[in-house]
Amino acid sequence: MTQQGEDVVRAEQLTKVYRAGEVEVAAVTSLDLTIARGEFMAIAGPSGSGKTTLLNLISGLDQPTSGSAYLAGVAIEDMNGRQLADFRRDHVGFIFQSYNLIPVLTVRENVEYVMILQRVPAAERRRRVAEVLSDVGLAGMEARRPPQLSGGQQQRVAVARAMVSEPDIILADEPTANLDSTTGAELIDMMRDLNRTRGMTFIFSTHDEMIMSRAERLVLLKDGRLDKDIRRDDSTE
């Protein structure tokens, strides 16, 4: 079910060049890409093809060398560090490969952190934490610390944290890379469910064929350029 929405991400001639001493590495080169609200999209490609760099550029974690990235209509390259921080807080959810959670904070504190930044009242925070934890199948685990959870459970908490403040987009850089294939597939299926039921936009990168196959749109990168952009109509049910 592809929602017919406005573009939530628009990249135009997006380019990122890293300088390591004398050597210049073009991590992403002249990339054009639009992502509509409600998409469930995978970015794949060999190691070093620019997946992480692309995700960082469209989420405002990094600034492009040239070209533009718009997220929810706002140009990322025009913002300073503080504006970017506020922007990510309000518009982007993040899931990383591992070490997503702050180990000394409880599950509840990890999940409510963004809402604390947003000054959401405590009662409301409590309600929403319980709600998203039950969405990801971890109801009642509020008081645990991340080290007391399995890898799969930790990633689910990360999903809960990413979605709790209902961002425009959730970006996940290889969220399943540190999980076994069954747990990884379960995580992606759960994200897919949330995408359908809540209309949340998910973009994730992966190496794994089986994970890729679960996406409704697959963008393949090669040497920092867009190689293929495949939409799978059969995912519309």
Binding site: A85, D86, N100, L101
Partner: protein
């Protein structure tokens, strides 16, 4: 505020999680703080001991002279109103003791040798309340009712080759006429004050006999004053006795070399403080960077999910602050323990002479409330200043770079 609270929770829990590092860091800073407090206490005791030794040995807390006497030491400049002054001093609640003295250059000769001397006439009954001449007697006895007794210093006794009971002749010039007066004395006592200058060239005779020899009736050249311990502003007491004819000086003016030496202790305390606080700063910067590098990815995550750069800086400063609070407690306790241990026996400087003063008793570190307020505040300030660099570093760090560590 809620955000600051969760940042504080993060800081505190991370410090607890790294117990050993936190403890080592606060121990290092605490040792610096304890060393500062101890040094201050030790210097304080040194100052008090030196001032005490200087004033209690002979000087008094202050002295009255005829204006100008101290510049020339001219025996003609004596105070005629000595008795009236002593009566006023006796009635003054701020004054614990006072004693009149005459002062004149004299020649003391034995059958073997002669010595130049500064001859003091002292009041045998009033003087012990003020100075330690009586306690410094190492042979023979202090002055009594017998008028023809003289006390000489140990070195002078050696120079003159005299013993108790031996005769010496004192020659001095009479005030006004400048005629030479001579008198015979018997050595009644030999004193050792510990200050070379005094033991070599000072002699004491009863003041009445000195007045006769100098022909100054009931005059005196100096009145030494010991203040009550409760007096906080000696200047006010001096002011009550000063007139255009009378000059009243406190010990800093009477012993400028001691005042200068004490000024130096402040300077050395300052340098000690700089070095110790420098170590504190380095220790804190190092610990903060260790903690920052170890949690680089975590910092990246916090930034990624929307923590503002300034908040990251605030968090690092909080860590510096909490570390310094722990260090203050550790350092304060260390200071108390070290001082208690040292003070059980004291540090023995016995007999060492410095700036015209001889240390008699072992030195102890004096602890004051002030030391436990000012120095911890300095440490806190230094920790926060030390935290600025890592704080700015944390704020400037790009989240994507921070998260490169593991990926």
């Amino acid at each position: 505020m809620s955000h600051l609270r969760i940042l504080m929770a993060l800081v505190v829990r991370n410090l607890i999680r790294n117990k050993r590092r936190t403890l080592l860091a606060s121990l290092a800073v605490g040792v610096g703080l304890a060393a500062l407090i101890f040094t201050d206490g030790f210097m304080l005791s040194m100052e008090e001991t030196m001032i005490g030794a200087a004033t209690a040995t002979f000087l008094g807390d202050g002295q009255i002279h005829a204006a100008g006497f101290r510049d020339t030491l001219d025996a003609e400049m004596y105070m005629t109103e000595a008795d009236a002054l002593l009566a006023r001093l006796d009635a003054d609640p701020d004054v614990a003791a006072s004693a009149p003295r005459t002062q004149a250059f004299a020649m003391v000769s034995s059958t073997a040798h002669a010595s130049a001397a500064l001859l003091f006439g002292i009041d045998p009954t009033r003087e012990p309340g003020l100075s330690k001449v009586d306690e410094a007697i190492v042979d023979g006895a202090y002055l009594g009712v017998e008028p023809r007794r003289i006390l000489v210093g140990r070195i002078m006794a050696e120079d003159l080759q005299v013993e108790i009971g031996d005769r010496v002749v004192v020659t001095l010039s009479e005030v006004g006429t400048d005629e030479l007066a001579q008198a015979m004395f018997r050595v009644g006592g030999i004193f050792e004050i510990g200050v070379r200058e005094m033991d070599r060239s000072v002699a004491f005779v009863p003041i009445d006999r000195a007045r006769e020899l100098l022909a100054i009736d009931a005059g005196a050249h100096e009145i030494a004053i010991g203040l009550d311990a409760s007096v906080s502003s000696p200047e006010r007491v001096w002011g009550a006795y000063a007139t255009d004819r009378l000059e009243v000086l406190g010990w800093p003016d009477l012993m400028p070399q001691l005042a200068a030496a004490l000024g130096m202790t402040d300077v050395s305390l300052f340098f000690v403080a700089m070095v110790l606080l420098g170590i504190v700063v380095l220790g804190i910067v190092n610990t903060l960077f260790m903690s920052l590098h170890e949690r680089m990815f975590e910092f990246g995550v916090l930034r990624a999910v929307g923590t503002r750069p300034t908040r990251m800086a605030v968090m690092v400063l909080m860590e510096a602050g909490v570390l310094s609070l722990v260090s203050m407690v550790v350092g304060g306790m260390l200071a108390v323990i070290v001082c208690a241990l040292v003070n059980r026996n004291g540090i023995d400087y016995g007999g060492i002479e410095y700036a015209g003063v001889t240390f008699q008793e072992p030195l102890r570190a004096i602890l004051e409330f002030r030391q436990f307020v000012i120095y911890p505040l300095w440490v806190l300030a230094c920790c926060l200043i030390a935290g600025l660099y890592p704080a700015v570093y944390a704020a400037r760090m790009s989240p994507s770079t921070a998260m490169k560590v593991y990926t």
